[in-house]
Amino acid sequence: MEPLLEFQNISMRYHALSGETDVLENFSLTVEPGEFIALLGPSGCGKSTLLSLAAGLLKPDRGRVLLRGEPIQAPPVHMGYMLQRDHLFPWLTVRQNALLGLQVRGNLTEAAQRRVDALLKSCGLWDFADAFPRQLSGGMRQRAALVRTLAVDPEFLLLDERFSALDAQTRIYLADEVKGILGHDRAALLVSHDISECISMADKVVVLSRRPARIQQVHAIDLEGGPMQRRSDPRFREYFDLLWKELDVHVG
């Protein structure tokens, strides 16, 4: 099967007056269709740069980022990028927010609008479609942001420390919901420094070193079910200890 997303020997260097910083050095990673990969690494190791590269917002200094074998030149049409906070636009209704991506792309077809309506219904936001974000609860805002991401029918998702800004309960609840809605046919790349989150969501956890980010270890997570179910699995603890030590070894 052709890989969905490929990072090939990526090197990135940021320049500033105070000097230059190597963020990535010869980084390679492959994401298969439907695969959920978590990138686990210390803060500031260059994880978010990887997402920006996959989102087509940055160009690598060296190496290539490929989507189905083609180099990514601009933000791919069927890509969903979720930032740390929901960033709903307060002056737009929930529905208008959800349609934003389609509008920018000029893809506001009737079929697309029906899909958004169906998403709003399945996320329990139908009664709030004409409400403004300030009228929603925290969890509903997160779901609205999720609908906005899914509206463009993404084949892969980029999740940037998606859940770290939330309280523990909402975080687990939302992670469960995201996994449920994503299903198994969409690939995802999650960037996080939260070990539990990585184990509870991903099929594969890639442990990154400190800057410049290199792949330290790759662990397949052999757990079934959603985040809630996984957390109650006895092996969850084992994975946690394993990853904790690994992260600790090269951070400490």
């Binding site: 890509m79 930032l83 960033h87």
Partner: protein, 272 residues
């Protein structure tokens, strides 16, 4: 969600709330009435010299005679016209320049010190130069108004544009948005409240510009009436023109405040 039926405590709260709101309105008008009443009384009882300080009734009489002779309308329309034209030009130019400087960070950096200096310079100092350049007509007054309002509008609006969160822009760019789309979808709507504030500042500045302009050069307008009244020692005329100016400025401000409220309603900022 709001509960439709009210408990007794909610009804009591609403009654207290409405009573306080009413009280505020009454006291506001009451203060004005008290001020005018005391002024009139002081003038009539000879506590103050009405020749120097005028009185509400003398101001009203002056305004009435101006109205009867048809002059009042001329002066008001001249001043109002100059203010509106200066305000509109200043706002359009200020917002347009803000868009340009938002677009090009380099240009913004280059012009930054000039903007700071122009912002702190009392534009009135340019009055004599303007008269030499543009003659002593309406053009000089409108230009003065424009100069006074444009820099404030530019600086305020640009500040608003630059405050829009970079993450919101990243989000939009991840949808493949162009720079122009980013501007139309996030930057402009995100800083509309700031733009409205800039308009409120601009309208105030425009009145300053027009009146100063009319002080320097003019043959009609409320500023002209004030200067003329001062020169011939008709303080009733000065006071009446000032009072009319007060009313006009307030009306124009309320127009913008009304537009602001409509905008906020539309954007759901008053909901929930």
């Amino acid at each position: 969600m709001l509960v439709e039926t009210h408990s007794a405590a909610q009804s009591a709260f609403l009654r207290r709330y409405r009573r306080r709101e009413r009280l505020i309105v009454y006291v506001r008008w009451g203060l004005l009435a008290l001020f005018l009443g005391l002024w009139e009384l002081s003038a009539r009882l000879g506590w103050i010299d009405p020749f120097l300080l005028s009185s509400p009734s003398r101001m009203a009489a002056t305004a009435a005679s101006l109205f009867a002779s048809g002059e009042l309308f001329t002066h008001i329309s001249v001043t109002l016209g100059e203010t509106l034209v200066g305000f509109l030009l200043g706002s359009l130019l200020g917002i347009g320049l803000a868009v340009l400087l938002w677009w090009s960070k380099t240009l913004s950096r280059i012009l930054d010190p000039y903007l700071v200096i122009l912002n702190s310079l009392p534009k009135i100092a340019l009055g004599p130069v303007l008269i030499v350049w543009m003659g002593s007509g309406v053009e000089a007054i409108v230009t003065m108004t424009l100069l006074i309002s444009v820099i404030v509008t530019l600086c305020t609006v640009l500040g608003g544009f630059n405050e829009v969160s970079p993450e919101k822009l990243t989000l939009l760019r991840s949808f493949g948005a162009s720079k122009w789309q980013c501007f139309c979808k996030v930057v402009l709507p995100g800083s509309l409240p700031t733009v409205v504030s800039a308009l409120k500042l601009g309208i105030g500045m425009s009145w300053v510009g027009v009146i100063v302009g009319e002080f320097l050069v003019s043959r009609a307008g409320l500023g002209y009436l004030i200067v003329y009244g001062g020169q011939v020692f008709k303080l009733d005329l000065v006071m009446a023109a000032t009072a009319i100016l007060c009313v006009l400025a307030a009306l124009m401000y309320f127009c913008i405040a009304f537009l602001e409220k409509r905008l906020r309603d539309k954007r759901g900022e008053t909901a929930g």
